[in-house]
């Protein structure tokens, strides 16, 4: 999995390992995130995603290995590394009596970059969190509002690298759309996004590459397109009359369900051999579903690389 590491990559991880006693949370993780890409960091609960993210932010100290952000060691040069990073934690621990505005101003003050008020206003508008809501106290916020505020605080300084832990958790579909729009914009401006997510459709839609962790180990690192190629297509064949013939399938083709008038098949690779076989049958219609990323990812979740 180890790839060549450019000196100034937004994120370069060299074999980080984190152990808690006998439990290995992350094992020998090597990963490079390229400038301007959105990398989806996937895995089941406890796979080591958040642990890896926290190591990047120097909140956790790795048992072995090292991680760099734009060439700065996350531990030895943590201040420089973190000054280039915006972070959205999985859960925001905020004093309940602070207002949204106080939270944003306080966190903006801790940044080295100056926050452009106009950009913050734009984020507020896109995520529908008006000034009126920012005057309310944190304890009065709904889950979705908390998430929106979390996103604004992470994006407001417009850092070159964004590390987002489950960014759309608690957002309604409309706000998810707005968030994807913001992601697309920051990517257009050359920003890099490293986001963990459970939502496969979201990852498929917004990410350029996917890194999948399983039990602390990186089991897949690939572009979304390449992963899609690994997936089987679902093909349904409808007949004008009952067909009693059993399909004779080539390797990579698999029967899901057969009725006299409909065949459901999974097809990996080329469709040609299937078409040749169907040529002699009374086919009424053919339905081909695009390969689904989650079919491949779920397989990796369950079994790891084969």
């Amino acid at each position: 999995m180890k790839s060549s590491i450019a000196a100034q990559s937004p994120i370069s991880i060299y074999g980080i390992t984190k152990r808690y006693g006998s439990l290995t949370a992350v094992s020998n993780l090597h990963l490079e995130v390229n400038e301007g890409e959105i990398l989806g960091f996937l895995g089941l609960n406890g796979a080591g995603k958040t642990t890896s993210i926290r190591i990047l932010l120097d909140l956790l100290r790795p048992t072995g290995g090292r991680a760099l952000i734009f060439g700065h060691d996350c531990q030895a040069e943590g201040l420089q590394a973190r000054s280039l990073t915006g972070y959205l934690p999985g859960e925001m621990g905020i004093y309940s009596d602070l207002t949204g505005r106080e939270v944003l101003d306080f966190l903006a003050g801790l940044n080295r970059q100056t926050v452009n008020k106009q950009y913050r206003q734009e984020l507020q508008e896109r995520l529908e969190l008006p000034d009126r809501d920012l005057r309310r106290k944190w304890r009065e916020y709904s889950t979705g509002m908390k998430r929106k505020l979390g996103l604004i605080q992470a994006f407001q300084a417009d850092p070159p690298l964004l590390i987002l832990d489950e960014p759309t958790e608690g957002l309604d579909p409309l706000m998810q759309e707005s968030f994807y729009g913001i992601l697309a914009d920051v990517q257009r401006r050359g920003r890099t996004v490293f986001m963990s997510s459970h939502v496969l459709s979201e990852v498929e839609r917004v990410c350029d590459r996917i890194a999948l962790l399983r039990k602390g180990e990186l089991v897949l690192l690939s572009t979304v397109e390449d992963i899609r190629k690994l997936a089987a297509r679902r093909v349904r064949v409808f007949f004008t009359e009952d067909v009693s013939l059993k399909p004779v399938l080539t390797p990579g083709h698999e029967v899901v369900e057969i009725t006299p008038r409909v065949w459901s098949l999974r097809v990996e690779g080329l469709l040609g051999p299937l078409m040749n076989m169907l040529a002699a049958l009374p086919v009424k219609d053919l339905e081909i579903e695009e390969p689904r990323l989650e079919d491949v990812l779920i397989k990796y979740y369950r079994e790891g690389p084969q």
């Binding site: 932010l57 120097d58 909140l59 100290r61 201040l79 925001m92 905020i94 004093y95 003050g109 080295r112």
Partner: protein
């Protein structure tokens, strides 16, 4: 630097209401003690009050009983009354374990994901603890000064300003000492309640050790371990001399606690 100051001001802002209200209460308590001292002075009942003290206590207090059962003694009681000491030490523990609480709630994630050095979290807490300690003692002394000026009989000698200042300095260092211990314990704890309870139990044990050592000879040999041994207000009342060695011991424990807190905090995982 800007971020560090913002964090400091944020922390001070968060504790100001608590510190001001506590300072006001303690200030009022000083005034109340002056009213009590004036009343006892006017009625001339110091001897009757002494008679109410159980014999074993009298034995423990020895000659300092005379100093305590006087106008000045009752006025100065505001600096070593159990309720005052207990609440001040509890506040110190509370302030010193703020970083632990910030880790527990996840607030620390947001702070330390910014370009802010870890050691600043501890430095900030030490500054907050120091400012709050000074502010509280200043409010107590203001209460004493105002109460004496407004209510004390003019025909008797008031406690010397040096005595009040000495008591306040010694009490302040005792607070810092327990703050240092709490910060060191907090820096290895995951929960503020655990750090607070552990330090509180330790403080109570050390207080009892110092107390018991006054009456029970075997405990005397280990009583030097108790920070309370280095705050002896009755001794101060009697000879009016602040012992630098005692202040140094308290300061050394505080500094050691802060030092350990820096070390532990810089090495620990921030996880909640």
């Amino acid at each position: 630097m800007k971020g560090s100051l913002i964090l400091l001001f944020h922390s001070l802002k968060r504790v100001r209401a608590l510190v001001i209200s506590m300072g006001l209460l303690l200030g009022v308590f000083q005034v109340f003690l002056i009213i009590v001292a004036r009343s006892v002075q006017r009625s001339g009942t110091f001897e009757q009050m002494s008679a109410l003290i159980p014999p074993f206590m009298r034995e423990m207090l020895g000659s300092s009983l005379i100093s305590l059962m006087s106008f000045n003694g009752i006025v100065c009681l505001g600096y070593f009354h159990l309720a005052v000491m207990g609440s001040l030490i509890s506040l110190s523990i509370g302030l010193a374990t703020i970083p632990t609480s910030e880790i527990e709630t996840g607030f620390m994630d947001l702070i330390l994901s910014r370009p802010l050095a870890r050691h600043w979290v501890i430095t900030r807490s030490i500054i907050v603890l120091t400012i709050c300690t000074v502010a509280l003692l200043a409010m107590m002394m203001t209460g004493t000064w105002a109460g004496l000026n407004a209510l004390a009989p003019k025909d008797i000698a008031w406690p010397a300003p040096y005595l009040i200042l000495s008591l306040a300095i010694n009490l302040g260092l005792l607070m810092m000492c327990w703050g240092g211990i709490a910060m060191a314990i907090g820096s290895v704890s995951r929960r503020r309640s655990v750090a607070g309870a552990l330090t509180g139990l330790l403080a109570l044990s050390m207080f009892l050790l110092d107390y018991v050592a006054g009456a029970w000879q075997p405990a005397e040999s280990v009583a030097w371990l108790s920070p309370f041994r280095y705050y002896n207000p009755l001794e101060l009342l009697m000879d009016n001399t602040l012992q630098t060695s005692k202040l140094l011991v308290l300061a050394a424990v505080a500094v050691a606690g802060f030092g350990l807190a820096y070390i532990f905090f810089s090495r620990r995982d921030i996880s909640h």
